[in-house]
Symmetry: C2
Subunit: 373 residues, 2 copies
């Protein structure tokens, strides 16, 4: 390893800075100004110990209040733990409550890591299929027969899913599972921190949120809310170290992300109140895109900022364009827009979250121009 060869690692740069960003995975994770400060303040590894020197993390007054009071209220949960992300949180739950060989029941729109978390635990997975094109809806009534048939150790709902931004009837599913006494987990990676959501109101046992996806935080970090009846199982203690929680390897809380999660929270709480506006903006955007000949897939009218489009007109252009399927990416970039996966034209997803209407109008205009050209 020569030093010359390593120099490149010292010059890591973000491409696409300063552009209007439509990337669904990034929109909700942009730091607030105060979180940027917290990031720098607690950037050094393990500097979080300097928040309250001499105390363990879970004993620090600010962290304690955040985990024991602030987050439970925010999530509508009894108990909250910090996880290393949503996939890790899902693993925490199913690894704690389901023995290998058991079955879990999940929606057909689930994230791929839900399946892998189940494989890691040695579980079988049964899926509640979606309705297919064009809405890809999860009808939660379909869970009932499958619950009767498979007696699952857990029921999981992705709310919304990360492909179509569909919001199934999570509350109705809460009523169904209650009848069969099946634990119910909501994957709220794209909900918690964007829109109002309460685990208890939806009748769930667990809710998981993502710091980096929707809580204006650097990652990897997640929040896991639970009903207190699961305390003894999820928070089971070490026999050798009776204060320590086995499933979290003592504690998964450490590092820079925690500081940003806390620093952003007051702003996150505020922005959640604007959800109706965000929703209307998404609906307006969807209609404008359809006027250009695209077709919005998923819930209609749409109820979330993550929106999936079929874009035949762009696909047709790509077949003849010298840049091929990458033309859309380049044409948008020329117009100051990024976030649609390079190479996609036939269909793509995007997010309108926290982008003001003026910028979205620029986006519509850009799409219109590219079509005309």
């Amino acid at each position: 390893m020569t030093n010359e060869n390593l120099k490149k690692f010292e010059k890591l740069e973000r491409k696409n800075k300063g552009l209007i960003n439509l990337n669904p995975i990034q929109k909700g994770g942009e730091l607030t100004k105060v979180a940027e400060k917290a990031l720098v303040e607690f950037g050094d590894g393990y500097s979080i110990y300097d928040l309250s020197p001499g105390l363990e993390l879970m004993e620090m007054p600010l962290i304690k209040e955040f985990i024991q009071e602030t987050m439970p209220k925010f999530l509508g949960a009894d108990i909250v733990r910090i996880t290393l992300g949503v996939r890790e949180g899902i693993f925490n739950v199913i690894h704690s409550i389901a023995k290998p060989g058991k079955t879990i029941l999940v929606d057909g729109n689930r994230h791929y890591t839900t399946i892998i978390a189940a494989e890691r635990t040695g579980l079988k997975v049964v899926e509640v299929p979606n309705s297919g094109e064009p809405e890809y809806k999860i009808n939660v009534e379909d869970y009932e027969d499958l619950i009767k048939k498979h007696k699952p150790a857990l029921v999981l709902l992705t709310y919304p899913d990360g492909n179509y931004g569909n919001l199934p009837d999570a509350k109705r599913l809460g009523e169904i599972v209650k009848r069969y006494q099946v634990p119910y987990l909501i994957n709220g990676a794209y909900a918690v921190g964007r829109m109002p959501i309460s685990m208890k109101e939806l009748g769930a046992d667990f809710i998981i949120g993502s710091g980096q996806k929707s809580m204006a935080s650097s990652g990897p970090i997640g929040v896991l809310g639970m009903d207190k009846k699961w305390e003894k199982i999820i928070l089971r203690k070490s026999k050798i170290y009776p204060q320590q929680e086995i499933e979290f390897l003592g504690s998964e809380l450490r590092g820079t992300a925690m500081a940003t999660l806390m620093a952003s929270f007051p702003a996150v709480l505020e922005r959640v109140k604007n959800w109706e506006k965000e929703k209307k903006k998404a609906q307006w955007f969807s209609k404008e895109m359809e006027k250009l000949g695209l077709k919005q897939i998923g819930d209609k009218p749409h109820k979330h900022d993550l929106i999936f489009f079929k874009a035949e007109p762009f696909y047709k252009i790509s077949l003849k364009h010298p840049k091929g399927r990458f033309f859309l990416h380049y044409e948008l970039k020329k117009r100051g827009i990024t976030g649609i996966k390079p190479g996609l034209t036939k269909h793509f997803k995007l997010s309108t979250f926290s982008i003001d209407k003026e910028d979205l109008e620029k986006v519509i205009k850009a799409f219109r121009e590219i079509l005309k050209k």
Copy 2:
């Protein structure tokens, strides 16, 4: 939740800024200047995707080279994966290779999370005891009889441990385990990034390092090096998503810490070359402290910057001091020094890593003054 009440989360501050810091858990995790830039550049959640827009993280040229070439060379390993930390890396390994009910054999100086990772996997743990006061040495020859007796699924050595900074004969243990064909894991949280270390040279199957503890990185992040013979077991693939690794839930690599780990690496590679100087400085410091009537515990002469002292003279003062056992913390702070756990006087650990001799002389002087007073 009133806004007024939440304001405090927006003002997170590091105490003890600008002081000479002796905290072993923090010394090796301080960011380099270029890593600070990378931290800010990739502070937003999931902004790491903007390193190479359109590519999956593991496909990005810089990340690919770092994981597939740079880190394997650095660790003396065939294959490397990024983990969420050392405890998570230990869990990754034992969860993959040991069935519940099996036994693992670990050193008596192991971190508490080693025990908890075993409990999480349903394993029994047998410990190789240390020699007790004053050296707390792990004699690796003691592993042999216990290997014969328990036929462990894994042998683990903490190198060095986080209490005494003892460096057992890891290479000799490599020879022993080879005879019995037992997989051998080195927890190098306080070695990798501080001192030269090679998994292959030590005869180990696995090595784990910590970004936030010793690689000048923000956390949580770790590196797991392994021998290629473990590829199929540790990196086993999902049946449904054949590209994805089950044990890592797809990939644990995401977020800000990865950018800092890469940005700091060229400097980390350089500092490892200074290890002999670091060691001599630690030995000198230990002698100076003993001149004050303290007693250094652990390896002697000491071979690591993490040093444990018995400090009877300070304990005696604490019994009469109005500030009680917190007096040492306050007295050191007055003199611009931090990092010894507040409340400890009878014994404490500290680290001399990356502190220049002039500052360490100030530390010695401060201890001397406090004793005189």
